[in-house]
Symmetry: D3
Subunit: 130 residues, 6 copies
């Protein structure tokens, strides 16, 4: 595992991203994910810019729903880190235990029925083709 | 690919499911997915019961959001059939082109950042552990 | 898509593999999979040797069960080619429609419950740790 | 990670499922998986009913083979919890070390050849199309 | 499937991206991928900027190697579109048939051994832990 | 988790593989991966032979590039063991921190754009079809 880059040892470029993360999220610490990406500053900067805009900026989808979509993908891919952090984010935005339960159930159902469609080799119905 | 079981050749058990699908969805046809599953009636019945309840029944998550969660998983798994049919369902429930665009962008972002977390072997931050 | 290497244009090295495939399977043709791999003879040879031994040779698991295991993986990964050819192989070894239906149902169930375990972050019970 | 719901704090609905799990499996404890799902009782109930029927009920596929199919999927998806518990279940139903080794080898082979078929873009042979 | 946005019907924002794609790649056409993303201009722009920089800009990894890394992922995920277009790109940058064969073989090997490591639950050796 | 087979308790067949691993890699120890596979000697032998040839033998692709391809797949599949050991191997063959950062970024990008192509159902452009 690569080292985590702490603020005090970070370059100016990395500090600028850390500062923006803390200002945007109104916290005084930075998650391990960003400290790991700081090993490659261009990836840190590009990833943060997109996460900031796409998860927190203006948009047609409600921010809580964005978190639930993110969780559905992370659960499908089994990314423990991503599940833990985005579940916390979703809860802070109002996800109840019941909503999390339904999110898991639908994620499970889709993973199941995706395979039933694969296995039976079902062809797309005429009316759903473009 | 297995044959699709049409209504007129279906057993009473299968017809009962088909009837419920058509009544619930207020259409007079049944999608290929169900006609393929009808090759194994217990799977047809169990799958329909869960899809009916979980995608269309009462719940804490809005039905359109359920479809978007379903699509995020199907896109991650690359299930062409599931993407085509549930995108149509989501559009019929109000998903705009912009919402679909954001759904794809977030699904893509999560698939990307899941791998960054994997590759850098990031450990879950203290505060997100139970 | 790369070209398929037909017998008459194949090198001696490739022909030797094709001959062994046809002799082992008692057919007079070679599937597209092998004709594609023939673009890289070492991969063709190594892959055939392992498929021959592992799917068809002596072993503790019944050959039909081996095919069903292979199908479960291919359905999970959505490999259309692999599903089509190994489903045919399994049917030729005795898999009934009902067995295929159960195989799909269990494959779907596992894909679902894998995600429930991921999403809830369930820790392995004491008694199942080594 | 969500809390695990213990029997003494569980609702009547959850206790009924726990009781059925313990009676069916003839044990006096319930695995962490079920205690986690108990955070969303409908998912607990629906999942248990299907696992009970599909893994343990009547069927055309031998119960040990069902476990091996389940393991093949869980290994492909890298679900540590599912691998640990179902490997234990399979061993209790008679899976030998040699059988487990072959199961792993076939699961690995399928994961490999699935990608060879993907990468070479092999088209399904005429005779395997429906 | 969403419609493909052609140049003549595109907005100024989309045309600017198309112009940059054609100028960068020195061609007079734009691939379907970009025409599809143009349905959501912010995703089109963000994706192109990153592809342009990361696949074609300055870097420590040779551009042909970048394409091979991209192909290895796409083959693992079974993205037919991505495999077709990036295999063409890699060939245009010098990938021989033999190199492609080795790329497929290594991609297959990793997909196989990943599962052997999963299934046997192998713990990381002391010396590889950070 | 199965037991790890140590040299002193290993059969002659297993010892022969261990000896070859240590001689090839010029070390006096064997990784846990091989000690786990030793529970099924044929899988140990076949896997080692292929890893030895494909990762370390003659070939058209540079050995460091082979490791990076292997890492891209392992990160996509989230195989912690494989990521840890092959990242170490790649670093010992000259992979810099910057190269690792770019490898992660490209792996992430491909995982993202694979899903954009899936979700928009993009058809392969005429010129990339064989």
């Amino acid at each position: 595992m690569p080292s985590l880059i702490e603020y005090k040892e970070a370059s100016a470029e990395v500090r600028a991203v850390y500062d923006d993360i803390m200002a945007t999220r109104q916290t005084d610490s930075v998650n391990n994910f960003w400290k790991a990406l700081a090993n490659h500053p261009p990836t840190l900067r590009r990833t943060w810019e997109r996460v900031k805009t796409m998860m927190g900026g203006e948009g047609a989808i409600d921010p809580l729903v964005r978190e639930m979509i993110y969780i559905a993908v992370s659960v499908t891919n089994n990314c423990t880190y991503c599940i833990a952090t985005h579940t916390a984010a979703a809860r802070s935005k109002g996800m109840s235990e019941e909503m999390f339960g339904e999110l898991m159930a639908i994620t499970g159902l889709a993973n199941e029925t995706n395979r039933l469609a694969n296995g039976y080799g079902v062809e797309v119905d005429e009316q759903y083709r473009s």
